[in-house]
Symmetry: C2
Subunit: 473 residues, 2 copies
């Protein structure tokens, strides 16, 4: 039996309650039109005959056809009546953008929220929210904002915050990632983090699951769902409300009781989940799981940095529990036989400045390293532009040198060189073109060594733990 | 008596030994011309009459006038003879770009390096390097690469790696920072990290000192110099060679013995210095010390983020030992008297979405917070652009709202919103224009909450420690 959310998240018809000519694009109407939703769209508002060129109905009950999904932007005072109408109309799910319920901290607002939930439960209607931005389903043409990517991809996201959802989708899009579905679920009074996690676990279009969670509604069910999920695909979780100040903020934002973070983190790690610190790291982990294969070797070769980057890179990757392996003697012997005068000097990371203009020795060393069992993953700097705008500023020559074309082993590319020059439009365009090519080639790309090191180390932790878990059972 | 380096780093005449028509722009000649060095420039090479339009001399000794400073790009085999000529000519300092000395790990190369040092010492010539990019002194028009910023500023940098120096100057320039002087000093056989640190301590144009160090030549002298330096101005140190892999890399890069990092870090912290993890954090700390006043209060107000950013921001700043203070009761009472319906709901961080379109209440809250003693520093998000390109995409309205115009207390601005949208040229230009205005206004700006939190926390650590040190003595 497929998950109930499968049907709910791909509705055939959508009504927007509280659509208004006063709101730009009728509020939630424009994003649906923008992303090309193919089903019926019904604006609902007793004050209009028409909104954004679509026939507007006085109430849900007045809509002639079936309504699968309702987006509510009515005031909270009208939210209970709306649910009663939805029960009568046999709507499957209501997404309440409507806010000012339990998150205000006032008893009357919390009581109203509970009354809506009771009505929905009795009437068989599911709720997303309230106090959230709802659903982004690019494959079905459903979005909460204009301009979000039209293409689908393998990332599934459940985020208790709507602004955060849009931030994550936006910054992930800049890293070449696309989403199967993303759901902002606010106060989570009915459908909660467990439902979304279970759904993404079953969803064949989702290969990595991201979650931003402020409060867990049902701890035991969540951990059971997480164990099942991580056996199938990586799950990366950012927790909001780790500190006292953060816990106060979750209460006023989504009425969430954040609880002990050390307990949460312990349980998530025990169930094989990956925890992260901030939104940037959440996207960094999505990049790692999206582009890199499942593997557990910590042996790295690092190449293409200057002397200082080689030294700092060695430190950073080693401190992230990765093994910046020494050059094996058999490679040195081979280079010696081939009369390379630097055979005894080379090091891993490879410091490109040793070559002093003749890169043939370094190219041969790289070739031998990619073929050697001691090196299972490579970190490679994209040659940065020079101050004079010359040198490595030619797209073709940069891509021609790119290591990922020369080995089948995983390669992580570092693009930081492009942010270390005075800003220029030409260099920004070149950097953007190179990154796009790397996305198209399926290569994980990071702006800094530190971020790449942390992401790679956590990726290996995930696959190692899963292997050990399987061996244990 | 002023430091000996004061004269050495501002030479009246420069000879470039090994200048060649085969090298683009005669190697180190072009950067001098590019940055407008006002003294005499003498190319030296027995094979040319002229290089880059300047009269070329067969040897240093053949130059008609005085030569203060020599840049050597001759091969290492010619480096000793060059030093002998420099002694005879009474040159004050030789910068050896020339490499392949002790860093190759070969005894003969190390012996040659020592012979050059002996000759220099006996002849009274100082050495920068060898194996380095040398001096960037924008005020005197001296540079090691074309296109580096012409303007001077308060940051002093000593970096054992030349590529690293250029990366730091470039990425710092993108954050609005400019340099008094920056020196790449390679193998440091004569002038070493102690000399540069002592010089920058005395230099009135330098307000913050950055160092990238692979190996310490004289530990006791360095710590004594550091204690003296930190009493006068902040010193931020990135150490290369913290791990085994990094230590191997420092040996082959600058022949440095890295030593125990925990001892190094302990001694640096004891002397009041700030240590950082990577090049990004080095620049982040420079931004903090450059723009923020000396202060020791950990009490923060955070404003302008969405709900999720408010929650994650509260966690990040709290976990960085900062106090995201609660809204004081007297502010809530005041807002209640003024009939603000949300007086009991507001929180710090201020979640802008609570306003639901009417921002007057939040503006009043911000005003009361900036005037209140409980809040001594503010973190404020630059309003990000919307997906549809509308909303906060107007430079004037964004700047008009900017908090730093509304309080004299320190404000840190977060620009991350601009990297969380699909890339567009218009938004990139807007972001760039806003950042430039913030630089001009002297406001510390960070791309992420995490980086801002770490930098602010370390800044306060520095000033707290210095105060306690002074009290102790």
């Amino acid at each position: 039996m497929s998950h109930q959310l499968k049907e709910i998240l791909s509705p055939g018809s959508i009504a927007v309650a509280g659509a208004s000519e006063k709101t730009r694009g009728g509020g939630f109407l424009s994003p649906l039109v923008d992303l090309g939703f193919q089903g019926q769209i019904y604006p609902v508002n007793p004050n209009y005959q028409e909104v954004s060129g679509l026939t507007c109905y006085p109430s849900i009950k007045d809509i002639p056809g079936n309504v699968d999904y309702v987006i509510s932007s009515v005031p909270s005072t009208a939210a209970l009546d709306l649910m009663r109408d939805c029960v009568e109309k046999a709507v499957k799910c209501v997404h309440y953008f409507t806010a000012r319920f339990s998150e205000t901290g006032r008893p009357a607002d919390a009581a109203l929220e509970q009354e809506i939930l009771k009505t929905a439960r009795e009437g068989g209607v599911r709720i997303i929210g309230p106090n959230c931005m709802g659903l982004y389903n690019p494959g079905a043409g459903i979005s909460m904002n204009i301009g979000m990517p039209e293409e689908s991809g393998g990332v599934g996201l459940a985020s208790q915050s709507g602004g955060t959802l849009m931030q994550i989708v936006g910054s992930a899009a800049r890293r070449g990632l696309r989403f199967s579905k993303a759901i902002s679920y606010g106060n989570a009074i009915d459908l909660n983090e467990c439902d979304y996690l279970e759904y993404f676990t079953e969803d064949p279009d989702t290969t990595v699951i991201l979650m931003y969670i402020e409060g867990i509604k049902d701890g035991a069910r969540f951990i059971a769902a997480l164990e099942k999920a991580t056996a199938a695909k990586p799950v990366v979780i950012l927790k909001g409300g780790r500190s006292d100040a953060g816990t106060r903020a979750t209460a006023s934002h989504t009425a969430s009781l954040a609880g002990s973070y050390s307990v949460f983190q312990g349980l998530v790690h025990g169930a094989g989940g990956v925890t992260v610190w901030d939104f940037d790291e959440l996207v960094d982990m999505a990049v790692a799981f999206y582009y890199l294969p499942s593997h557990t070797s910590r042996n790295l070769g690092i190449m293409g940095g200057s002397g200082g980057n080689s030294v700092n890179g060695a430190d950073i990757f080693a401190e992230a529990k990765l093994n910046v392996a020494t050059i094996p003697q058999d490679i040195r012997d081979r280079l010696n036989e081939e009369d390379d005068p630097n055979h005894d000097w080379y090091n891993n990371p490879i410091d490109g400045s040793i070559s002093m203009g003749d890169s043939s020795g370094i190219e041969r060393l790289m070739e031998l390293m990619t073929e050697h069992d001691d090196f299972q993953t490579f970190i490679s700097f994209i040659p940065g532009p020079r101050w004079d705008g010359k040198g490595s500023s030619d797209f073709e020559s940069i891509m021609e040198q790119s290591l990922h074309y020369k080995t089948d082993k995983p390669v992580i590319m570092l693009s930081g060189g492009f942010s270390r020059m005075p800003e220029s439009e030409e260099m920004a365009n070149l950097g953007s073109r190179i990154r796009q090519q790397l996305f198209d080639d399926g290569v994980a790309t990071y702006a800094s060594m530190t971020r790449a090191a942390h992401a790679l180390s956590k990726l290996i932790d995930f696959y190692e733990y899963r292997k050990q878990w399987a061996d244990f059972q």
